[in-house]
């Protein structure tokens, strides 16, 4: 066994040229083959790649889809986000658990099937959903859960769980997924039909500076959420000098779509990946890069073969490779698979991940445009941004600016989910009101809308006339609709669970502060809150926001801050002062008990019950 393991790892490492920066690929391959990266495997990998053992262990322990202990041959990962919870996640989870005879986090005694929960897998418009190895199963019910377990027991082939394919390229021979695109509004830019090669050939017909000028004239801003001006980012990278002796610069497409409630990049990659690849090529031309990386989240691994096929096709058509369309400009793309970490959507964490490291964000400066992947000037763009670039080149900046609002040109893809009749993807011009969107989505009775995912803003009905644009309700595209019967505090708790789970733990306020925030919210839900809690929640949130090291921590208190502002009564109704002046938060029973009471919440925050 040990000899077999050693030789298999040797082969895997040879497959990446024994390049330590491909450690994540190696670990993923070992995980797939041996269902874990064991202690022995960790030693072998470290030896083969010539890196400290700690580098391998640190990496394996960081990513949710890698494990030290063996997983089952089939791993069922139930998507656990607030939208799944609205649509019966608890019942589905319990149905899987009963059918398998195990709890989430466990593997059946025969080693066949592991049941787990995972953060949002990008299927909120068809929730509850799950990954069965790489296969996505959607619209789950308790019946369907039992059927899936029965079928797996029968044949252990996740691919056979897919009975009917979804629409569009979901039915492509290299995808074969039951996922649906649910495109509700096909706008003029991102989701528009394209003629392969048009954008790239137009771009390389002019100078790189002219390409950047067009992107600037179009006033294109990044679609991932932060809204940084794309042309400016490209110009920094164009003017940046690679480190000594190197001419390398990089274009990275951030397809690590992990913000709960967002799934528009999935639809782009399914239907308009050609635009994404064209956008990367144009970006490469503009900044002087010859290499691109498409970082694909592991949850979308079912799209990997299809995307590789598209890359091959484009090479065949002379649109990727050493001499694009016969010119001296060369550019090629490789796919980097993630391994389950929301934080890798942060651009410097993503760069670390591409380098085969833990997805801890980096200190800035230097910014990636100066020193990014392998220390070279690097731009990181969202797939939707890159699609916009192709359209700007195809039709000119003026056409692009004709849509949207003055400060927010063009269209935005919105992922709508939750309590509405028409969940799915909408490409609509920037500047539309939230109310207009809700009307289109059939959400007339919406009582609260989370714009921008957990790190965004919870909007109350008296603010539904606010506009979706960078200067008002900025969003990466997640629109989660909540009806009048939903408990705002439960939603907040769900979001805080998410941030605690996904924090990298590098800096104090995010690592510790979010646990405290989550537990305070839980305490209020458990009717042990006091009026003073509200001010303390606010102060704590402000500190986390002001002092955290990256965007995750700087936005993680937003669920608390925005609901304290817009839904304050939801808190006030749940807190009261003890008439005798005792601290209501003090739980006598659990404080004198040596064991955890059965109804105490499991402590996933590294806490143990007090002795």
């Amino acid at each position: 066994m040990t000899a077999a393991l050693a030789s298999a790892i040797g082969e895997i490492c040879d497959g990446v040229g024994r390049d330590p920066t491909r450690l994540l690929d190696v670990a993923r391959a070992v995980q797939e083959r041996f269902r874990c990266v064991s202690t022995a495997a960790t030693d072998h990998i470290a030896k083969e790649l010539g890196v400290p053992r700690g580098d391998v262990d640190g990496l394996v322990s960081f990513y949710a889809f890698l494990s030290r202990e063996p997983k089952g041959r089939v791993v069922i990962r139930l998507s656990d986000d607030i939208i799944d919870r609205l649509h019966g996640f608890d019942r589905v989870r319990d149905a899987f658990g009963r059918a398998l005879g195990i709890e989430p986090g466990q593997t059946t005694p025969d080693g066949a099937i592991t049941l787990e929960t995972t953060s949002c897998i990008g299927m909120c418009d068809q929730a509850p959903a799950a990954l069965v190895n790489e296969v996505v199963v959607t619209d789950l019910s308790t019946d369907r859960a039992r059927e899936i377990v029965g079928d797996l027991r029968d044949h252990m082939e996740p691919a056979r769980l897919v009975r009917t394919f979804g629409d569009g390229n979901n039915a492509h021979d290299l995808v074969r997924a039951m996922v649906n695109n649910n495109i509700r509004a096909e706008g003029p830019f991102v989701l528009s039909e394209l003629q392969r090669g048009e954008a790239v050939s137009k771009a390389i017909g002019v100078s790189p500076a002219e390409v950047i000028r067009a992107v600037k004239t179009a006033r294109l801003r990044g679609r991932g959420g932060a809204g940084f001006p794309t042309g400016m980012k490209w110009e920094y990278a164009r003017n940046a000098e690679p480190p000594d002796g190197s001419r390398r610069k990089f274009v990275i497409c951030n397809a690590d779509e992990g913000e709960p409630g967002t799934f528009k990049d999935r639809v782009i990659l399914t239907e308009r990946a050609d635009r994404v690849l064209a956008g990367m090529t144009i970006a490469g031309y503009a900044i002087g890069a010859e290499e691109g990386i498409l970082y694909l989240r592991d949850e979308y691994a079912y799209l990997q073969r299809y995307l590789e096929h598209l890359i091959d096709e484009r090479r065949g058509d002379g649109l990727l490779g050493p001499r694009i369309l016969g010119t001296d400009f060369g550019f090629d793309v490789r796919i980097q698979m993630g391994a389950g970490a929301y934080i890798c959507g942060e651009e410097t964490a993503l760069i670390n991940s591409c380098e085969g490291k833990r997805g801890d964000p980096r200190n800035r400066p230097p910014f990636p445009a100066q020193s990014g992947y392998l220390g070279c000037p690097t731009i990181v763009n969202n797939p939707e941004t890159l699609c916009c670039v192709t359209k700007i080149i195809e039709t000119g900046p003026a056409t692009f600016c004709a849509h949207g609002s003055p400060a927010s040109s063009g269209t935005k893809l919105l992922s709508v989910s939750g309590d509405c009749h028409a969940p799915g993807v909408y490409e609509l011009p920037f500047g539309l009101t939230l109310r207009a969107l809700l009307d289109r989505a059939g959400a007339a009775d919406a009582a609260a809308v989370q714009v921008g995912g957990p790190s965004g803003t919870m909007v109350a009905p008296d603010h539904f006339d606010r506009r979706i644009e960078f200067d008002d309700l900025a969003t990466g595209g997640a629109i989660m609709v909540f009806g009048p019967d939903r408990d705002i505090l439960e939603i907040v708790r769900g979001f805080m669970d998410f941030f605690v789970h996904e924090s990298c733990g590098y800096c104090t306020p995010c690592r510790v502060g979010n646990v405290i925030l989550r537990d305070r919210i839980a305490r209020i839900i458990d009717d042990r809150g006091e009026p003073s809690d509200l001010d303390e929640l606010e102060t704590l949130s402000q500190t986390i926001r002001a002092t955290s090291r990256c965007g995750l921590g700087q936005t993680s208190p937003n669920p608390v801050l925005s609901t304290l502002e817009s839904f304050r009564s939801a808190y006030e109704q749940r807190v009261e002062a003890d008439p005798d002046g005792f601290r209501r938060s003090f739980d006598l029973a659990s404080s004198v008990c040596l064991t955890v009471s059965p109804d105490a919440r499991p402590s996933s925050g590294g806490r143990e019950p007090s002795p």
């Binding site: 833990r358 924090s503 733990g505 806490r607």
Partner: protein
């Protein structure tokens, strides 16, 4: 290129050199910015967030932010001091810190900062985490209960000792220091002369049988509060 520049910290003009960080310039000028994970000679880490300052209204870590000409830095403001205090409290509740039983007492930067900030008891509930002690090595002790994840040992072992004995494992609240072996420190090539043992700001990484060489009461922070001008600076 390296012509001296001037920055302003709390209204005081301070000379600085391009390439310096705000913290380095402040130290050189004798202005104290509270910090925990910063160590002279080690790559800045930016993890504890105690050294947060404001530059033109924007928050940044003084240990990682380079100076620029005419930069205006706010350091000693009520808002920043409150935030720093809260971060220190977070570190106290996250681990198991029992100063009265700790051999590092009086020589511990976390404890000293608590005194400086007037923290008598943290305002948050203690986590009481279950953490391990690794006493496997004959001369070195790791007590994870007291670790504040400052990465001092990680950086020093990697960059000063060339050994990479320490690394981070896990993420989020489960992030921990681990050693470069299957289980314990005794299986690594850690040595009592390693410089990594000199940088722990708390009592998490210690040489055995040395803790009480200096009697309690005569230790650095027993003499003067942390951040005093006459504070002896350790290696």
């Amino acid at each position: 290129m390296n012509a001296p520049i001037t920055i302003t910290i709390d209204g005081v003009e301070v000379p600085a050199t391009p390439g310096q960080t705000i913290l380095e310039a402040a130290d050189a000028a004798g202005i104290y910015i509270p910090r925990l994970c910063y160590r002279p000679g080690l790559e800045p880490y930016g993890g504890c967030r105690v050294c947060m300052v404001h530059v033109a209204g924007r928050a940044c870590a003084a240990c990682t932010q380079p100076v620029s000409p005419n930069m205006v830095v706010e350091n000693d403001t009520g808002e920043l001091q409150e935030q720093r205090k809260m971060i220190i409290e977070m570190l106290f509740v996250e681990g198991n810190h029992f100063c009265m039983f700790c051999e590092k007492s009086g020589n511990c930067e976390l404890q000293a900062l608590a005194y400086r900030f007037g923290i008598t008891a943290p305002r948050f509930d203690l986590f009481f985490p279950k953490r391990d002690v690794d006493a496997s090595h004959p001369e070195i002790l790791i007590d994870h209960n007291r670790c504040i994840l400052c990465a001092g040992c990680v950086r020093a072992s990697r960059d000063l000792d060339g050994k990479s004995i320490f690394h981070f494992t896990g993420r989020g609240p489960d992030r921990r220091i681990a050693v470069n072996a299957e289980a314990q420190l005794a299986a690594t090539d850690a040595d009592v002369t390693d410089r990594a043992l000199d940088v722990c700001p708390v009592g998490a990484l210690l040489r055995k049988r040395e803790g009480y060489r200096t009697p309690v009461g005569q230790r650095p922070y027993d003499q003067a509060p942390i951040g005093s001008n006459d504070q002896p600076e350790e290696a």
